[in-house]
Amino acid sequence: MSDILAAILIALADDELIIGHRHSEWTGFAPHMEEDVAFSSIAQDEIGHASAYYSLASTMVGQTPDQLAFGREPGEYHNAVLCERPNGDWAYTLARHWLYDNADALRLEALERSSRPELALLAAKIRREERWHSLHAELWVKRVAEGSVEGRGKLLHALAEAFAEVRGLFEPFDNEERAIAQGWLTVPSPVLGARFVETTTAALDDLGLPVEIEPGAITTELIASSSGDLIATDEDSASITPAGGGLGGRYGRHSDDFKALWAAMTATYKIEPEATW
């Protein structure tokens, strides 16, 4: 049973590690110097959250957090595809940051009520930092949305692009029903997805951002995907690709972007996996 919980913790950690990795690629290169410093803190926070989730899973699976973070094959990472996409420009980064942190806020709110006290406690801790991430994302999105035509156009485009894959964050975990039955998870992923669509749509509306969302569409498709219909099943296929719409990540099906990220992220570790660094 603890395998089921460990797998979920690792998937949560993978989301945080991979988006943290992408965010950290801006450090030293953000388009505004003070913002460079601010966004780097967010990157460090996300990697720190990953580390904390891995630590919880660590004792259950008998591997160190670093072994979990760097020692697995690409198909064994269960992060959402959205997290692995390259940063693109600042507009895409902002759009994803805003969507991800809004989604994460809902997820953490649910995790805070987990029947596993160590998970509930960790979620509460993470949520304190995530509040600041959300505030940061909101200030930026608001400023760009209300700013010049060019920036607004870029943000719209980026939001549409990121939104098309956001459902991957609400793709159910392996054995999610059993985790729910145990009270480890308190809200099914598709329900969180539906809440997300509701709040995000309202927020976009407030900002006057005409991103096309069919309310309910994301929920319907998520339920369909949880039945396995939308997930390709050839597990042994050499070419692992996401199932479209940003789905598949929770089952280890990633884009080529992930393979490149994974190769870079594990390069040093793999020189001497047994060594300390």
Binding site: D66, V144, T268
Partner: protein
């Protein structure tokens, strides 16, 4: 008061150990000299972020991934502090940034070189930060007060970086043969640039920045201090240092290198912004600067008022 009288008064003030604030009267040559000096320091911090950030994606543990990110973040923070100080001398940050990315202004030689692996993270973090700290600590006594105030914080953070770099180094040094080989490879490539880092011998009679105590010590003096402090630390870990090979001077009992062993040609090329990585790195920054014009416009927009 004539300009000459003011100049004389200013020199007397400096000679008497006086400090200068941004709003004080200062000779144009002092203002221009301090501005150029701090601008180059700021440029070096922001360009110095690049070689190190190249190693962030491949950092080999969760702890290292976070701490190297934090370290580069600090360097950007230093650039931010320094550009603010330079800006108050009369040149906007945007103008300084544009001069940097278009190759008009300069940055420190060590940041013109490529990185290849984690051994580079070790040597940059330990020896290059060590060299920078020797220089920056000497500037704490500078006559330009706003500079000394930010340097206080910068030096405190550099002390931490030094520990961080030494920690990475020691882990490699006490690791496997392959880990040690990575460190040796990086030392082979970085040694000469580190020697160059302090610059050629100072011209004490002509250097106005020395005369006005903007800088307080000569290049050769700083290099000598660095060698004496760091060479024994490298050798005790049983690594080799390439040409110019340091040796212990019998008379002074200090670690030194022979001046004639230093090949200055690579530094001369870098002074013309023709280092191995100069164009690529400046190009990256230039493209990013141009691609993100809209971000600066969004930040400039007064019609948007975030709560």
């Amino acid at each position: 008061m004539t300009y000459e009288e003011r100049w004389t008064g200013f020199e007397a003030h400096i000679d008497g150990g006086g400090m200068v604030e941004a709003g004080d009267w200062m000779p144009d040559e002092y203002r221009a000299g301090v501005l150029k000096f701090i601008e180059m320091h700021a440029n070096s911090e922001i360009m110095g972020a690049i070689p190190e950030r190249e190693q962030i994606p491949g950092a080999p543990s969760l702890k290292r991934k976070m701490s190297l990110t934090a370290k580069v973040q600090d360097e950007v923070g230093h650039a931010q502090l320094l550009y603010r100080v330079a800006e108050d001398l009369g040149k906007s940050r945007d103008a300084m940034y544009w001069d940097l990315v278009s190759g008009k202004s300069k940055f420190h030689n060590v940041f013109h070189y490529p990185t290849f692996h984690w051994g580079d993270a070790a040597v940059i973090g330990w020896l290059i930060d060590g060299a920078a700290l020797v220089t920056q600590a000497s500037l704490l006594e500078s006559s330009y007060a706003p500079y000394t105030r930010v340097l206080k914080r910068i030096c405190a953070e550099e002390q931490l970086h030094l520990r961080h770099g030494e920690d990475i180094t020691l882990e490699l040094a006490s690791g496997t043969d392959r880990q040690r080989a990575m460190l040796q490879d990086a030392l082979n490539r970085w040694w000469l640039p580190i020697i160059h880092f302090f610059g050629p011998k100072s011209n004490v009679d002509k250097d106005l920045l020395l005369r006005w105590r903007v800088k307080t010590r000569t290049n050769e003096d700083l290099r000598a201090e660095f060698l004496d402090r760091y060479v024994p630390k490298v050798l005790e870990l049983a690594f080799e240092l390439p040409t110019p090979v340091p040796f212990k001077d019998a008379a002074s009992e200090r670690w030194v290198v022979n001046d004639e062993d230093i090949d200055w040609a690579p530094l001369d090329a870098i002074k013309k912004n023709q280092g191995p990585e100069t164009e690529r790195r400046l190009g990256l920054r230039r493209r990013s600067y141009e691609d993100h014009r809209w971000v600066r416009e969004a930040l400039d927009d007064q019609t948007s008022q975030a709560a």
